[in-house]
């Protein structure tokens, strides 16, 4: 397959966007990406969204967004892979360009979560409806069970979970698009309201509105436009059992392990080659397991790594979630995977401002659906 690059990016601010509809925010992000890339057309587009039907009563988002973006009659497809919908949308755009079928494709993601739907119930549709959700389990509950198992097996502590939130808020405070631009202390995290033991409110990513879009193109197009393209050197995806209880090991997300192995192989890189990583920290425990399952730290030591600051921007060992992550930047589900790519695009272009990882050349994005039943990983490299 031929080389594929990202040549433009745009996103809305993440947060409670009361004045804007799902169409407004998607079109805003898409126009910013198109303008940033400087393209006069796109050949096709993908819209990642998890549950627009439940959140705002609107499906068929491909056509809806193509219409409101004013790009009909191009092919427009909605992609759904629960919370990994954004990553999957980007992967579809990547594959379409890599295959030679198209030259310029928009990969977008969107979620409008604050319009009054029962968010807990909508998100729970990413788990096994009949054998998990039927029993009243919630997403915080599923990750809480992972956290409990991780604490029991590896001695991961409450303080270590809190360290993830503290670090991500510190990073998010420097991100103008983040929902929460305020720092928190470990004590605040550990005293926040219990949501699903042992996870508390500040262990959880928020309910957010937001959209993100990037323009994916062939190297030939990028050269003509004389842009600073960022090359996609790996795109991988893996699945696992839908129910957490069916997993081989509750503390390891096999889909992450498998997708990572494939990505490293495709890119011909190893964990130590990665300069920064955006991981799917829907809950603090998810960042800890992700940093282990991606191979940055040994299994069981992700909590210690977080606590010792090895994942901070300053430490440079492996800066994790420089954007603030889902925790602080916000988690408009379908937009998240694309927003992760945008963070890499900015970092690898040296345009991440106060959060810049000096000299960053290779970045990874890990986007996850459900309790880990889907995982999409991308590795990007500055040219």
């Amino acid at each position: 397959m031929r080389d594929v690059v990202v040549i433009g990016a745009g996103m809305t601010k993440f947060g409670e966007l009361w004045e804007k509809s799902i169409k407004d925010i998607f079109v805003e992000a898409a126009l910013k990406a198109i303008d940033d890339a400087g393209v006069d057309h796109i050949d096709s587009m993908y819209v990642g969204a998890m549950s627009s039907g439940l959140f705002v009563g609107q499906e068929h988002l491909g056509a809806v967004m193509a219409d409101y973006l004013g790009v009909t009659p191009i092919p427009a497809t909605r992609v759904e892979s629960a919370c990994a919908s954004g990553g999957a949308s980007f992967r579809q755009a990547y594959l379409e360009v890599a295959s030679g079928a198209s030259e310029i494709v928009l990969a977008g993601g969107v979620e409008k979560m604050t319009d009054g739907a029962d968010v807990t119930e909508a998100l729970a549709t990413a788990a096994d409806q009949e054998y998990e959700v039927y029993q009243g389990i919630t997403f915080p509950g599923l990750y809480a069970m992972i956290a409990r198992a991780h604490m029991e097996r590896y001695g991961t502590t409450r303080e270590q979970l809190a360290a993830v939130a503290v670090k991500n808020h510190r990073n998010g405070a420097k991100n103008p698009n983040a929902q929460f631009r305020s720092e928190v202390t470990a004590e605040q995290v550990m005293k926040s309201t219990m949501v699903a033991d042992p996870l508390r409110l500040l262990d959880c990513s928020p309910v957010s509105d937001g959209a993100a879009a990037v323009i994916v193109a062939s190297m030939e197009v990028a050269k003509k436009l004389k842009k600073n393209p960022i090359r996609v050197i790996a795109s991988s995806q893996a699945s696992d059992t839908i129910a957490l209880h069916s997993r081989r090991d509750i503390t390891t997300l096999d889909s992450v392990v498998r997708a990572a192995q494939k990505a490293y192989k495709l890119a011909d890189k190893k964990p130590s080659d990665i300069n920064l990583v955006e991981v799917h920290d829907c809950f603090t425990i998810a960042e800890i397991t992700a940093t282990e399952d991606l191979g940055f730290f040994e299994k069981g030591t992700g909590g210690e790594a977080a606590e010792k600051g090895w994942t901070s921007i300053e430490c440079k060992r492996i800066p994790v979630n420089t954007s603030g992550g889902l925790k602080s930047k916000g988690h408009p589900v379908g937009a998240t995977g694309v927003a992760q790519i945008i963070e890499l695009y900015e970092q690898l272009n040296g345009k991440a401002g106060a959060r810049q990882v000096e000299g960053a050349r290779i970045g990874m994005a890990q986007n996850m659906g459900g309790s880990g039943a889907s995982c999409v990983i991308h590795i990007l490299e500055a040219i």
Binding site: Y134, Q135, I146, R148
Partner: protein, 129 residues
């Protein structure tokens, strides 16, 4: 909830009916058409043990609207004595008393209801043995 959807799951929810792979012996709950272990497609019906152990658990304090009047409630992954794991609410216990490794028994309880006028939905829950 649609009544047909509920009705379809009754053998599993009421009686813990599972499918044992005729080829490798792996037990699937709920039954599947393809064995996740050896990919064979022939099964015999078996009933799961109703006794097991808590592998991990949480206490749900913020629930979906349907369950919001019952919070806080325990939910755990229970490994039944035949090795099969299920997710189940843990009833009749103060959440602070829950621990990994506790022995439990599955009992028949009302799990949810379809609003004020819809059908009542039953199934298994765990209680401390």
């Amino acid at each position: 909830m649609i009544t047909a959807r509920y009705h379809r799951e009754i053998p599993q929810r009421y009686r813990l009916e599972a499918a044992k792979c005729s080829s490798c012996g792996h037990v699937s709950f709920p039954p599947r058409l393809v064995c996740p272990q050896c990919k064979a497609r022939k099964f015999e019906a078996v009933n799961l043990s109703d006794e097991g152990t808590i592998v991990t658990f949480t206490v749900v304090r913020v629930a979906s609207d349907k369950f919001s009047k019952e919070t806080p409630f325990g939910v755990g992954i229970v490994e039944l004595n035949d090795g099969v794991r299920v997710t189940a609410q843990i009833a009749d216990v103060h959440p602070d008393e829950l621990k990994v490794g506790q022995k439990v028994k599955l009992v028949f309880r009302r799990v949810q209801e379809d609003g004020k006028a819809g059908i009542l939905c039953y199934g298994y829950k765990a209680v401390l043995a």
